[in-house]
Symmetry: C2
Subunit: 338 residues, 2 copies
């Protein structure tokens, strides 16, 4: 059924969002860069021989402050990570604010300071900005767009089209921390141990990984729609099957408990400081060791592999030995999680 109106699910990172992008945005705007369907567009600057990466993201997370971060730090991490996933060294960000009339200025100050700190930590500069104000009831405090620009080192070519059957799939740590931390803040859920968002800049981790495994084929940070959406997108784009070991995917007890209670699959919950890497088998051990040697990848694990069987499909070996299809998430999931 063709939808006539925008629904929350159109922004949730799952099937409906994908369809909206494929049917409504891409056809009129079509060009070779959009067709890459990557986290960042990879562009060759004519005459310079350099490849640059460009990525954009708007942040509408609710609430503005959550355990482990806020909209400001998240807006920097999100775009730094999208650039890093293309193999680029993130260099410059722009920041554009849509403020709601009546926002208290101290809140804005805290958010801008958090952006400055996050940018400093990630080694990027915020080089241009914009501020708009909308009337009360037409915004929600602060929305931020960050757009990032980086340079791809010579010889690095990373993208879904490079994935090959036999590639090993690595995951840099536990899944679902961001989504559940934000949800707990929003809904007032309490956990026995404090659960923090994993929001973090992944460019240092990627640098360590690529130094050890320079032939890494593809990187992706599983944000909206979680690991399930990321793997499904890549299986589709690369036209391979992906098989993962469900028991190998690290899930913190608090996340597992919250998902159990709320009926969520942890594989569909958003992350903001994790990556999956597709690495040729001969570099997989070095890649895993490099991830584990970095503070943000200490819990990195091998979760599966790409296969020429069942192209486009993601299968998980379950705890009890069966296989289930890991579907592209549908519906609303967790709205406004980033």
């Amino acid at each position: 059924m063709k939808e006539n109106y925008i629904r929350m699910a159109h922004g949730a990172g799952g099937r409906m969002m994908n369809e909206l992008i494929r049917t409504l945005f891409v056809p009129p705007l079509d060009n070779e860069y959009l067709r890459q369907m990557a986290d960042a567009a990879r562009i060759q600057i004519a005459d310079l021989g350099a490849h640059i990466a460009i990525s954009t993201d708007s942040f509408v997370i609710r609430p503005l402050f959550f355990p482990g971060g806020n909209i400001g730090s998240l807006a920097v991490h999100g775009t730094v990570n999208d650039l890093a996933m293309s193999g680029a060294r993130p260099l410059w960000l722009t920041a554009s604010f849509i403020l709601e009339e009546g926002l208290d200025i101290e809140t804005l100050e805290r958010v801008v300071r958090a952006m400055a700190e996050a940018a400093h930590e990630a080694g990027v500069q915020i080089v241009a900005g914009d501020t708009k104000v909308v009337e009360r009831g037409h915004g929600d405090g602060i929305y931020i767009n960050t757009t990032g620009f980086g340079v791809v080192p010579d010889g690095i070519v990373i993208g879904p089209e490079r994935i090959r059957p036999g590639d090993i799939v690595l995951l840099s740590g536990s899944v679902g921390d961001h989504g559940i931390a934000v949800l707990s803040q929003r809904e007032g859920l309490a956990f026995e141990t404090e659960l923090l968002s994993d929001s973090a800049p992944l460019n240092g981790l990627v640098e360590a990984l690529l130094a050890a495994a320079p032939h890494t084929h593809c990187l992706r940070d599983p944000t909206r729609g979680g690991l399930a959406a990321a793997l499904n997108e890549l299986a589709g784009a690369a036209c391979v099957g992906i098989e993962i070991e469900e028991a190998a995917v690290p899930v913190r007890p608090a996340v597992a408990a919250a998902c159990e209670m709320l009926g969520f699959d942890p594989l569909t919950v958003a992350n903001e400081g994790k990556l999956v890497a597709f690495v040729p088998p001969e570099e997989a051990d070095e890649a895993l060791a490099a991830l584990r040697s970095h503070p943000l990848g200490q819990e990195a694990v091998r979760i599966g592999f790409a296969t020429e069987e069942h192209p486009g499909l993601v299968l998980a070996r379950t705890h009890i030995g069966g296989r289930r299809v890991v579907d592209m998430p549908t519906g609303e999931l967790l709205p406004r999680i980033c």
Copy 2:
């Protein structure tokens, strides 16, 4: 008095917005690029010898469709123009959407098609995108961020710091068309002749200008806050005085009549397809001829000059021969005009 809350005027392009940017955003984020306070940041890519320009803008215009354009075409023109004002050749744009739940999809389709057409006309590609959805009552149909990247041709150095006393100030056509066209749509004002927004991509006009007057010192498109805000910003940044001939500034009869009725100064009303150029006197005739030879600059005029007297101040010779201070606009003016 220090403000505690965001007000509509903080987004209106005048004194309050300037102060917010200078006091709240720039200090924590400080770097050499932000300090340029230009329409686009000009950045040297190390090792490549190339200068790139980066600019960002979020569009929250109300209503989404107005005489002469819509939020989609405007979002392309606005960022293309900011890049062009730095002397850059605009090449790539990103587009990020914040959609309100319940938006009808046909409206979105019309806007995206308009973006595609505007991008095609301006010769730029939209290379990356993002879509977020917020609940009803937390948006206003469609907000769009566009961020643009361009390459500055060798030898072109354009910026407020290059303005010199004696520079001739050129204006590419009539002022206030965009602001009054949008306002008329919003408020249901009727004019005897239809008034259209001047929204247009200025990169072609800039190219023609720079071919004829390669030593052009500074360019600025007078958007929010109009010609008055643009000239005041430049007088302050360049530490020069600016003197203009009020009678020389073209104002269409419908705009003049609407301003008279509403108590606006046409110099403070937004434009989206006009530029002011600061040109050394020896290239002024060629510059003016080049502007006039382009379809978007047919009504270009010489409106004044920069002077070492009264630095930071903009003065206008009035119709009756006196001089008045053209102040930085304060207060709300026309909210959500772009």
